[in-house]
Amino acid sequence: MSKVQRKRLFFVVVLGLFLAGIAACVSMKDTKRESENAKLPVIEGAKYVGSQACAYCHQDVVKDFSASIHGRIAAFEIKPSTEVRGCEACHGPASKHVETGNPQYIINPAKLKPVQASAICEKCHTDKETMDWRGSKHALNGVSCIKCHSIHGKKDKLAYRDKLGYRHKHMKDVLLVKPEPELCLSCHKDIMAKTNYPNHHPVKEGKMTCSDCHNPHGSQVNPLLRTDERKNELCLKCHTRYQGPFTFEHPPVVEDCTICHEPHGTVADNLLKQNEPFLCLQCHGIHFHANLRPDTGTIQSNPHGSGYTSVVPHDNSMQMVMMTRCTQCHSSIHGSDLPSLSIPGGGSRFTK
């Protein structure tokens, strides 16, 4: 067994022992009492009365709710620690509210602190992409689940464009209060502007959504990127042609895609932060030719003409030739397995 394999095995064993230890030490009763993710209000003296009692007054809500994913949950899906299904699973025991009609006697997530409102959802939603919710940027910025999700459900799958005029991309029904990207852009206005720049990912055309790249429920890679590794691995999910690993590497490419690219939108082509050649010239010297202006007198008087010298070059001919796009010649700039032309360059000039 190699050193790396031993390290992995050690990690897995430690993690397993930790989980087993926690499970052994904490009884289910304690779990219910102490391990809520926030201290939730308690309606003293209230008892569970069932969802039908709610429907009597809240008919409009119950109608949408019964068709939503929350309304269709099966009994076996509920955690043993959850005491009840239906409305009271989130709103708490409702007997006093039903008797009096007083909104103070019911838990209303919209009136709670964000961390409390989210803690209600976290009773069940601890898996998949919500596993790291509590440490996410959104949670730590006071954004609660209900800021983005309509718990009672309602969706128009055929709405063609949102209020921003962006086309929709089909998504699984995740009970959003607004469709993406309108939902995300209602706060992230600076990003909204970038999606309208001349060069952009097809977000407003309805072929991508923010959540294709971002996991709003938490990520270990900033800014909430949908990867558990590093930034580049996310880009390479779709741009797999640049995955390599290549024989001839371009160091900034393997360092970080965003050294050269701004993924939300740019004025320059190919989501480049600046146009070529200026982007490249920040790290590289330009070919010496670009600074030359012809000595037309010498050329015209050249006694050794061999065909080309009869045409006097334009004053800026070298600038026109060299200061265009660097990638006209260095086309495999993301890396290549084919060596470039020049022997002294070691084949590493990305020209093939």
Binding site: M131, G135, T247, E249, N302, H304, C329, S336, P344
Partner: protein, 619 residues
């Protein structure tokens, strides 16, 4: 195309009919909605600019959406047609919550640029006549190069509109057994297909024989992700394991080109080229496989605390060359609430190790011209050196060990105000600073970083305020400092130490006085002989943001956002700095129900300043 449109209309009509028929059954339910329309499109500019991803032809569009309940089965779907290459459909099936399955398909066109290679510029024949930097190059007996030369631009694929048809389909199914609901197995498949043509430009000659060629490359790529695993949810523990297999297939044929020769009066260059007058492959896209195992666990702890941890192992293989890299990523985060829900604190630790293989570059393997055997080449080139002189060990710039730790908090300073902040320390230790370790000791090694270790210190502070119900605001400041940020070490500028590899200049090769115009033309300067570092990665980053939204009524909302970013890098020598100003004003009005007016103005000014360097000779 017309036939295809009619087929779509028939499909939509079918679902309308079925919907009406099913709705008559009393127990089961069937809901269906249909939308139809016609879009008008006109354009008068570059297609890639006005419709990079959009259809550019007018035509009917429409969609169908349906949901049905039949006993324990719940199923539904939708489809939307915009044009033959821009459409989507989806479906879902739910059997008593035991089996949950989803499927979706989406396709669109991506139009890519066709660089016309100066087609509209004033040029003679197929290229520019450009000045040669040195009026003469004398090899001792004759002039090998002189005066103006021609830079050629050849578009082998004129008139073609490059576009790639991209489609993606996803299918996922999870199973939850009522008898043992704590484990939920799941499988998902994602397939992305890209077909079409794109332009590839490349260099077919060298220097005086400068020749840029543009040609069309067939794109026929398929990325398939198969992911299988499961989630355990029991009490306070949630754990999951998933294995992912990614397969990237490239079905396009290899591309070959007969590269230019540099004979005649430019033969001086011949001995510097790996191939000329020879056919060689270009524009290759390697096939790739990726295997990934991910193990995650979340534990709900007493005192409103949560612990989350993950381990991910991945291995990527380039199937064309068999090069591969491995990556191990460990992550842990502990989050807790203190002071009666007023203070949230989260601390995290991340470590990853990326290990890419080094590669030995033996140029003789690639050499088609076989310089060593080519005795026809004379003059002050490298005719006397075998191509193996330049062989080296390519150290991967990808390999690294990264450690990151940080703490974030949110403190409710008052009912409507919260203070948010955080600090992160990140350390990148690249396995090697060197990109090239030459076998020949006469050649100094190249490297791209002076110091392979970069340390980031990142701070952030923000204030969220909801002064009134109708007015919200957020102001934030973010700063980070990078010690030894990424840079091109000795990438630019030329020092006083001229270096001659194989020139005829003898002990002082800087100027070849044998030339009619004394010239250092054939000197070679590698990175080590340049003197200055260059970078466009900030050493110091400051960002200030202000965003405020005013919603006085249900029909009016206004937002103002301002942002200023300053970045600089004093570690490198190119004096790089960036100042970016952004201001946006957005207004949303709903004068009557279902009619919205959204308008916005955004201003952005970015100014990057840096010295740029024109090398005397770039090697």
């Amino acid at each position: 195309m017309k036939e295809s449109k009619w087929i779509w209309f028939l499909i939509i009509s079918f679902f309308v009919t079925v919907g009406v028929a099913r709705a008559e059954e009393p127990k089961d339910t069937f809901k269906c909605s249909v939308k139809m329309g016609y879009h008008f499109v006109g354009h008068s500019d570059e297609k890639t600019k006005v419709g990079e991803y959009e259809t550019l032809s007018s035509g009917p569009d429409g969609g169908v959406d349906f949901d049905a309940v039949m006993g324990k089965f719940l199923f539904g779907g939708h489809m939307f047609y915009y044009d033959t290459r821009d459409k989507e459909w989806s479906g879902y099936l739910d059997y008593a919550r035991i089996i949950r399955s989803n499927y979706s398909y989406n396709s669109f066109i991506h139009r890519t640029r066709h660089d016309r290679l100066f087609a509209n510029k004033d040029k003679t024949s197929d290229g520019f006549t450009a000045v040669n930097p040195f009026a003469w190059l004398w090899n001792g007996s004759e002039y090998e190069l002189e005066g103006a030369q021609k830079a050629k631009y050849t578009d082998l694929d004129t008139g073609r509109d490059y576009q790639i048809h991209r489609s993606e389909q996803k299918w996922d199914t999870e199973f939850q057994a009522p008898s043992f609901p704590y484990v939920i197995p799941e499988v998902s498949i994602r397939q992305e297909v890209r077909k079409g043509w794109r332009q590839h430009t490349f260099m077919a000659g060298k220097c005086a024989a400068c020749h840029v060629v543009g040609t069309g490359l067939r794109v026929d790529e398929r990325t398939t992700d198969i992911k299988a695993g499961g989630t355990l949810k029991y009490g306070i523990i949630t754990a999951s394991y998933f294995h992912t297999e990614r397969d990237f297939d490239n079905k396009a044929l290899a591309n070959y080109y007969n590269f230019d020769g540099v004979g005649g009066d430019k033969a001086v260059y011949r001995s510097r080229l790996l191939y000329d007058y020879s056919t060689s492959e270009f524009g290759e896209t390697p096939e790739v496989q990726k295997h990934m195992d991910s193990l995650k666990a979340r534990v709900r702890l007493p005192h409103h605390s949560t612990f989350y941890s993950s381990y991910v192992y991945s291995r990527v293989v380039n199937n064309t060359t068999d090069n591969s890299y491995n990556m191990d990523t460990y992550f842990a985060r502990l989050t807790t609430l203190l002071l009666n829900n007023k203070l949230s604190i989260s601390g995290h630790f991340k470590y990853y190790n990326l290990d890419n293989e080094d590669v030995i570059i033996d140029l003789n393997n690639y050499n088609i011209v076989n310089i060593a055997a080519d005795t026809s080449v004379s003059g002050p080139g490298y005719g006397g050196l075998p191509v193996t002189y330049w062989n080296y060990d390519r150290k991967s710039s990808m390999s690294r060990v990264v450690t990151e730790t940080g703490v974030d908090f949110n403190y409710n300073i008052a009912p409507r105000y919260s203070l948010i902040g955080g600090y992160t320390l990140k350390r990148l230790e690249r396995d090697t600073n060197y990109s090239k370790e030459y076998f020949n000791t006469a050649l100094a090694n190249d490297r791209y970083l002076d110091d392979g270790t970069t340390t980031y210190n990142m701070f952030k502070l923000a204030l969220n305020a909801r002064t009134f119900n109708s007015l919200t605001g957020r102001v934030s400041y973010e700063f980070y400092h990078a010690k030894s940020p990424f840079q091109n070490w000795h990438g630019i500028c030329y020092g006083t130490g001229w270096y001659n590899i194989n020139g005829p200049g003898g002990s002082d090769p800087s100027i070849d006085s044998s030339q009619p115009v004394p010239t250092p033309y054939y000197m070679i300067f590698r990175n080590v002989y340049r003197t200055n570092d260059a970078s466009n990665v900030p050493e110091n980053h400051h960002n200030i943001k202000l965003s405020t939204t005013w919603t006085p009524s249900a029909w009016l909302s206004a937002n103002l956002n301002l942002q200023y970013t300053h970045e600089d890098n004093n570690n490198a020598d190119n004096g790089w700095h960036n100042n970016t100003y952004q201001a946006g004003l957005n207004l949303w009005i709903m004068p009557v129900q279902k009619i919205y007016i959204t308008t916005g103005y955004d201003y952005q000014k970015s100014r990057y300043e840096t010295y740029y360097c024109a090398d005397l000779f770039g090697g």
